[in-house]
Symmetry: D2
Subunit: 403 residues, 4 copies
């Protein structure tokens, strides 16, 4: 259990912290103005491309990818504190470093399971930050935490696969730069429970793909993450070569994709919580009510202290999980991945709620990032399966020790 930041991590942290101070934080108000002026509600701010260029120039690029050829070559434990830092400016920093969901997961899938042709066609431009991608798994009509519920069909027809079904919460798909979807569906509904599914690459402009609308989260479009699209696939035909890994491999790919995806979310949530705590402290110091700064009110002090205690605990569990993934593999870290999936969003939600309260009515508004970040944290109690499913599963494994 060695979570120390090694020399490489420290060096990247220093570089990244400087990058945040010099480029990212100053770009926040710029981005806000650019978005306010944009006509396309899904457009990304122009300043982002500048940040991307700068990050790439500095070697702060694709850090998430363990493969040293294409990415940072970092372990999870090395990447964790960097992802945390990007969480402090979650609408700009992850994308600036080409480390934003869902591209990260999609690039991992292509790097691990893609054919050379698939990697050349889609992984390369993703790695270069030229296009973006979406992941199409959740469906509107069923509880998708149970993978056997998936209703989208992927049917072989000669040299092609035909895709039919409806997805929603396809994150990233509203982004104008989004060019490619990874779609989960069933190639064989009669196979074993976890061999029914497959994943296939569907270019966004394929005939029959109908991007219907973006789903909102607590009133936000989440445009900074490319939104969450509802998409109808209506007799969509793609070459058979677009299948990833093979028929029946979909569940295994999904599992491989989820582990890193979850921990990345949790790492960033630590950074989000840190930023919320900083904002809460600054506000408490500057805001005067009944003759003294609210920082001197006992209740506000309780929020601050309790936030610090919760953040510290959550961060350590995330780091331990990263370390376990590195040392015993994602499967060996299964319990811990679930534990942080359960604990971290709740922690961040709690800290954000108190930070909002300390900001008064401003806290729920667009004048501070807190309300939108709260919505993101709250939504992560549902994304990738509701907490309740994870708790049930974690409990069953705990109980097994005594059976």
């Amino acid at each position: 259990m060695d979570f120390a930041y090694d020399a490489k991590t420290e060096e990247l942290r220093d570089k990244l912290l400087r990058f945040m101070d010099e480029f990212v934080y100053p770009a926040e108000p710029v981005a806000e103005r650019q978005l306010a002026d944009a006509e396309d509600p899904w457009a990304r701010p122009a300043v982002l491309e500048e940040l991307k260029a700068e990050a790439r120039r500095q070697g702060l690029w694709n850090l998430f990818l363990p493969d040293p050829e294409h990415g940072g070559g970092l372990t999870n434990l090395q990447y964790a504190p960097l992802a945390e830092i990007t969480g402090r400016s979650p609408h700009l920093a992850p994308e600036a470093l080409n480390c934003a969901a869902p591209d990260t997961g999609n690039m991992e899938v292509l790097a691990m399971f893609g054919t050379e042709q698939q990697r050349k066609q889609w992984l390369r431009p993703l790695l270069d930050g030229e296009i973006r991608s979406a992941f199409c798994m959740t469906e509107p009509d069923v509880a998708s935490s149970d993978a056997t519920n998936i209703a989208t069909s992927i049917t072989r027809d000669g040299d092609e696969y035909v895709i039919n079904g409806t997805k929603w919460w396809s994150s990233g798909a509203m982004n104008p730069n989004c060019a490619i979807f990874i779609v989960m569906g069933k190639t064989d509904p009669d196979a074993d429970r976890h061999r029914q599914q497959a994943m296939i690459l569907v270019p966004r402009d394929t005939p029959g793909v109908h991007v219907k609308r973006g789903m909102h989260v607590f009133g936000y479009t989440d445009a900074s993450h490319g939104g969450h699209a509802e998409i109808v696939f209506d007799d969509v035909r793609v070459p058979a070569d677009n299948l990833i890994a093979g028929e029946g491999e979909g569940f295994a790919i999904a599992q491989a994709r989820l582990g890193p995806g979850r921990i990345h979310h949790c790492m960033r949530l630590i950074g989000i919580a840190e930023r919320a705590l900083e904002l809460m402290c600054r506000r408490a110091i500057s805001r005067v009510a009944f003759g003294r700064p609210i920082a001197r009110q006992g209740v506000v002090q309780e929020w601050i202290a309790e936030s610090r205690v919760r953040i510290e605990q959550a961060r350590l569990l995330v780091l331990k999980t990263a370390w376990l993934m590195d040392t015993v593999g994602n499967k060996g870290a299964h319990t811990e991945i679930q534990a942080i999936k359960i604990g971290t969003p709740l922690m961040a939600e709690w800290v954000l709620d108190k930070a909002i309260q300390a900001h008064g009515a401003g806290g729920v508004s667009q004048d501070f990032p807190l309300a939108e970040l709260w919505a993101a944290a709250r939504t992560l109690r549902l994304a990738d399966g509701p907490d309740e499913v994870h708790r049930m599963s974690l409990a069953k494994r705990e109980l097994k020790r005594y059976l």
Copy 2:
């Protein structure tokens, strides 16, 4: 402590429940479509005018106003169960009955404190649902729960008052039909703590009034409540006759206005929570995961049971508060008004959070009303003063019993 619904209440409840079933609930999807098609993001749906006409025809109009001449002539206890019912469709029903905030509070102020001229010019069209109004009290730069912080000035200059200052969270002011503002400011900053303030009527189209933007609550514009505007008053001049009640009366008017306003919010929150519980139950019955409806999961059952327990308790305290206001006056009900201001939003927030969780990702989206209602309930922990201020005040009164 008699909270029984008397004959008049029962009759109105029956009528209102029928009105909800026949007109309001069917109008919900209509309104949604109309809003989606509207060009003005602040427009109200056309169907609302039909609902208003029908409600007025049925005598379900201005029920909130205790004055029998202009309103329902109901006690708080008689009005409470009716307001609760409107809370079940909070974006349509309160306004359909001309019982929506902030007009209700503004009409009360005019009915109680307005001159005949003021009542004729502004109260009459408000009572008729022809115009709407806004209440401008909170300011961006100070903790407004402390009334001495108010910085807007109302300065006598001959036959006029000149108003300078900035307000935000002026609810209702973004509504295109909003014609009149009640503005709180200081006429004498050197007077006693609670004699510095005054309220004045400012038509929305007065030169120098700059409605800058609508504040968001968790991504929502709250357009159904006329939004929450930031307004700059820049040397705004109105006739001296526009002053309500007199210089130095502002704090007293605000206090008189807040009691009923708070209880109306709480009544509607009970209805909101009931609707959330109904949606949670229906969803739990219809949603299947891992082979059985989630209604059979113990955790979901806990949410449902606990919701019922909390709703029942909150409703009774709201009813007791209404009864106290009727029997010993708003001042005598001070503790209870604070108690429901503290307890009811928290209760509704809790129930809504669980209902959202039972809905999966859909719960946070625009496909169900839950997320938006949650945002409203959460915001009420800040509106009219944050919970913490009310708890402090309530505790001090409790402690006084032993001093």
Copy 3:
């Protein structure tokens, strides 16, 4: 929904409040000394007999019993505020008024279901406060919230019934004055689920009755309630006439007994919480830390305010439940009885926890009544079935509305 205290209630409340001030509170330290000096750890303090005599003299006797011939002739709603007051001194006041559990429930059973002979032999001395009784239902080896689990047998053998089995948590049985047990067992394990059980009267001194030990609750023997005994029934023979109501009637009697029993507990818990809040306030005023009374600390004020809000809500739901039991019967009040069984102990536990915290280390000690009262409130989350069983049952009824 009329919870007003009528004239009779007000008169009794006045009388009882005076009785508390003049006799009960002054007797508290006396009782404590007498108990400290007593050799028998199960002895009751001598001062209690004086309190009983005085209460009886004043007509504050057997108020719990709705039967006007033997008891107070009060409705549940009339009795509720009186029971609440006795809860403020829970180790003396209920017994002083002959209104202590489990005698109350046992007297109700005998009054409702007993034969004339049974009533003469056991109800009469119970009503006179000459003997005490115990209720033997819970068993150590099974989850007794599921009545079909009960393993004790009651077998007919000629003119006698033979009882075999082990009970625990037989409250009251350690009291030296306890003379009679009501024992639940099975007369026909093959009958329908709710027709297998019967109740039978077993004098404590019957051969084969072995009172093994008193169960502790968090270190307390609960001697003031006669403890909670583990009892072995080893071929215990009693006359067949000792059966109450008939074979197969046990479940129905248990149900009839539980409703009032639960609400009495809840009423007293309100009083307990009120006393805890009073102690918390007094302590907060008198205790100085870091230069000022802790009553001026925001966190302590939050505890006090939140306690008041929770107590008010809980009391109203208890009163509504009492009113419902009076007007639509125990069955009609089933949901509310469960709701207060779930909500009231949790409320009292919360208030007591905060009162303890405000008392520092003294709060957990014998120098204040708070820790022992906390243990009692906590235990009521398990007594008469754990909260979880009640929540499950309440949820199922709520869900039925939509099936």
Copy 4:
């Protein structure tokens, strides 16, 4: 941040785990019987001496003491996982290893600050487990979390010091083997805030020492920890050489003593929580209600999962704190020591509460260790200063970063 268990730790863990299995757990029922049969309620069970002998023989002795000459020579990080293990049998294991509070803290004080004579006379027999000791700091009449409140006087009179005052919660002092007290008092009430206090050694049999009674915690005497005595010091005279370190050093010694004391408590609490979770799982598997083991109920699964998440987080923060104390010193670890003081008892209390609930009524009784352990965990929210004081202090330090 390297929390890995090194070779030495692993070796000691193996040895200790075997010792627990072979000696400690089997001794638990033996000790219980011996205590039940003992006449002196403060006696320690005979089996404990056997455990001590065995532990010493195996080199599992005085592990807490960093000084390799007298103790284990372990770092905090090495000792932490061992202390956790002893927490699984908290009434026997810590004392069996001569690692029980308050002796540990007292031995540290003597090792760090004692003169050679003091060490010879008192440290030696403590290290040999021949005598035990108490720490007398808290006073009944004042909030002792504020050290300036201390009222006990230590006055020089020739070659002696005269001690007057009343202490309570002097843990360990009821133990028949307790021979020596370390008493905190004021030598100079007019000195600077933190230079007023001193500590002095007072043999328990010194004339004028009156051990009045043991304080209870939730009904328990806590005899396994030597109880918590109220002690009157009435003109108690000891040689001037008994002063530790010097006049005015009392606060500094107390601070030095508290750091390790707090972390030891927290380490053991992790072990307590682990044992509670194990008991909860075992019970859930074996207990059948409504036709299936309660382990299959969703609510119980939530308790188990949430317990695991909370325990993991708390353990990591304790380990980090230990590591910080080793690397940057107790002062550098101040924030973390406070954080675990706040978070760990709350975590353990939560887990224990759920374990109790899963055990039904048995959970609150003497048949399972849960209720007593709960009382210990709850009390630690007050011991060494209430949570609120620590939160306030931690918040102030957090806020300082932005001032």
